[in-house]
């Protein structure tokens, strides 16, 4: 029972900015379908009486006070940037 079409895989790949080859598209269509089938087994459980949660940590209302705790550390932090210029991170020109 394939749960996902090749068009779905193409769409998801596009959203994730992945360029898939034809072979990869076939492969992932099948693999993702299998994963979804596996997850689908959860639907067999009766969850009508269970409250839905978005987290299972049990934590709630975790906040910090509004204080400035960080200092300028640009030089070190920008070492991760692919390219930089005058303190900016340099990227290919963006349209839109």
């Amino acid at each position: 029972m394939a749960q996902i079409s090749k068009t779905d895989v193409e769409h998801v790949a596009q959203l994730a900015r992945l360029n898939l080859t034809k072979i990869e598209e076939e492969k992932f269509t099948q693999e993702l379908g299998e994963i979804l089938n596996y997850i689908d087994e959860l639907n067999e459980l009766d969850l009508t009486k269970i409250k839905s949660v978005s987290q299972i940590s049990g934590l709630e209302n975790i906040v910090r006070e509004d204080k400035i705790t960080n200092e300028n550390n640009r030089e070190k932090l920008l070492t991760n940037a692919p390219s930089q210029e005058k303190g900016y991170i340099k990227v290919k020109q963006v349209f839109e």
Binding site: H11, S54, D66, N70, E85, I89, Q93, V94
Partner: protein, 463 residues
């Protein structure tokens, strides 16, 4: 054909907290070198843990209380995914199905008509960074990435471009009264996107989204242009395309922005790093509510009903908190109408800052008691600004006191009458409008220091 216009707005308000939404970076990026207010959290480096800013949530709830929203019992953050170089994590922490605030209303007055603008929701999210375009590159500054951003969404219920502008101005004013944002549109503290549709019947038309409006004037101009454009499309029997259009302020037109190749799909899911919230348990809501000052809509009402101001004057004063405070202090000492008139027409921003309300009141009291004329007072005000001296001192120094006694004025009137016998006889012959000329001559003789009403009265008695 008569058309019905429907506008909905989506407003983003930057909160002026000390630190960012999920990290301890300084939130005030104005005039700061690029990328100096960033850390691993707001840069989206692997393995970091965002923690929500309590003040930002508190201010959001306070805004909701001021705008009559319902505070959610359960709320959470979600990740909204898209790719853009100003979004370092590849997703924005936002709120999807459980915003902090649901519904709400803002009352505005458009040309004397009260209108209620219904809100859909208000949620909290983080701002993105800034892009600077330089030749064939784009430069990214992430100082603003992670600034707390409140998104206020209205129902599609606004009936005209003018109402949309007035609503935004009211919202800016409320944000400033609440002290949660500088709400300066030109600086991007307050940003608005609009949906506008035009239809020939009661059904909603096809909404067109408008972006890039960076001032209140631009919002009104862009919406007026778009309203007209859509009516013309319908008049020609064509259909409106559902699209996003940008506002080109230089050309004064909206233009179609290249439509996305496929529908936006943000793939929201709950932010796993931020546990959920129960806002009503986190904050003492009664205390938050008690901190809300009297807002412009209430002030407008009070200024009209209790202080006798016109709607127009009440609007001008109430929209600006500083002006309202100034007015209220001055109106404790002199009549509110006189105070309003001078604050709106004469004082200007410079005066608001440099002249104390009690000092303005001292000047106005001299007009009220007929010691000086309004004309003299208008000469005294700039001198108060310039020298910092009190009105009484300036008047004494320059001998500007109004020539007040009937006796003094009567003497001058006698002189003018004897010098203008021809005019006097024409008045006696029935040309009463010539009295104004004599009044003018007396005022000239007294260098404007006489009370014109009194001069008029005395001339009438003598002729």
């Amino acid at each position: 054909m008569t058309y019905k216009t429907t506008i909905g707005l989506e407003i983003h308000v930057q909160l002026k907290t000390k630190s960012k939404m999920f990290c301890g970076c300084d939130n005030n990026a104005e005039g700061v070198q690029p990328n100096t207010l960033v850390c691993p959290v707001c840069l989206g480096l692997p393995g970091v843990l965002p923690v929500a800013n309590k003040q930002a949530i508190g201010w959001t709830l306070k805004t909701g209380l001021a705008l009559n929203s319902k505070i959610a019992e359960h709320s959470k953050f979600d990740r909204k995914h898209y790719f853009y170089p100003d979004l370092p994590k590849g997703y924005q922490i936002s709120q999807y199905d459980l915003p902090f605030l649901i519904g709400g209303q803002v009352e505005i007055e458009v040309a004397g008509d009260k209108k209620i603008i219904e809100l859909t929701r208000i949620h909290l999210e983080e701002d993105a960074g800034k892009l600077v375009h330089a030749g064939t590159d784009s430069l990214v500054d992430l100082n603003r990435a992670g600034t707390p951003l409140m998104e206020i969404v209205t129902e599609p219920c606004i009936d005209s471009p003018l109402s949309a502008k007035i609503f935004l101005q009211e919202l800016r004013s409320i944000m400033r009264y609440l002290g949660v944002s500088s709400a300066d549109m030109e600086k991007g503290h307050l940003r608005a996107d609009a949906n506008i549709s035009v239809s020939a019947d009661e059904k909603l038309g096809v909404p067109v989204e408008i972006k890039n409006m960076n001032s209140f004037k631009m919002v009104e101009k862009a919406l007026l242009y778009e309203e007209k454009r859509q009516r013309e499309v319908l008049d020609a029997g064509d259909k409106i395309a559902k699209e996003t259009r940008g506002w080109d302020d230089a050309k004064g037109i909206t233009y179609s922005q290249r439509s996305k190749e496929f529908a936006q799909d943000y793939r929201y899911f709950p932010e796993p790093d931020l546990p959920p919230f129960e806002p009503t348990k986190m904050f003492d809501l009664a205390k938050l509510k008690a901190e809300i000052p009297e807002l412009p809509a209430e002030k407008r009402k009070r200024y009209q009903s209790e202080m006798g101001l016109s709607l127009q004057d009440a609007e001008v004063i109430a929209i600006d908190q500083e002006m309202a405070n100034y007015f209220e202090k001055t109106a404790e000492i002199v009549s509110p109408k006189l105070a309003a008139n001078w604050i709106i027409n004469e004082l200007k921003i410079d005066g608001l800052v440099k002249i104390k309300p009690e000092d303005l009141a001292e000047l106005l009291k001299l007009i009220d008691s007929n010691e000086i004329s309004g004309k003299i007072a208008k000469d005294v005000l700039p001198q108060m600004l310039e020298t910092g001296k009190s009105a009484t001192d300036i008047i004494a120094e320059k001998g500007l006191k109004q020539i007040g006694s009937e006796e003094e004025i009567a003497k001058i009137v006698d002189k003018i009458i004897s010098e203008n016998s021809e005019i006097v006889s024409s008045i006696k012959a029935g040309k009463t409008s010539a009295i104004g000329f004599l009044v003018g001559q007396v005022m000239k003789e007294t260098k404007g220091q006489a009370n014109p009403a009194m001069v008029n009265k005395i001339i009438n008695e003598k002729i």
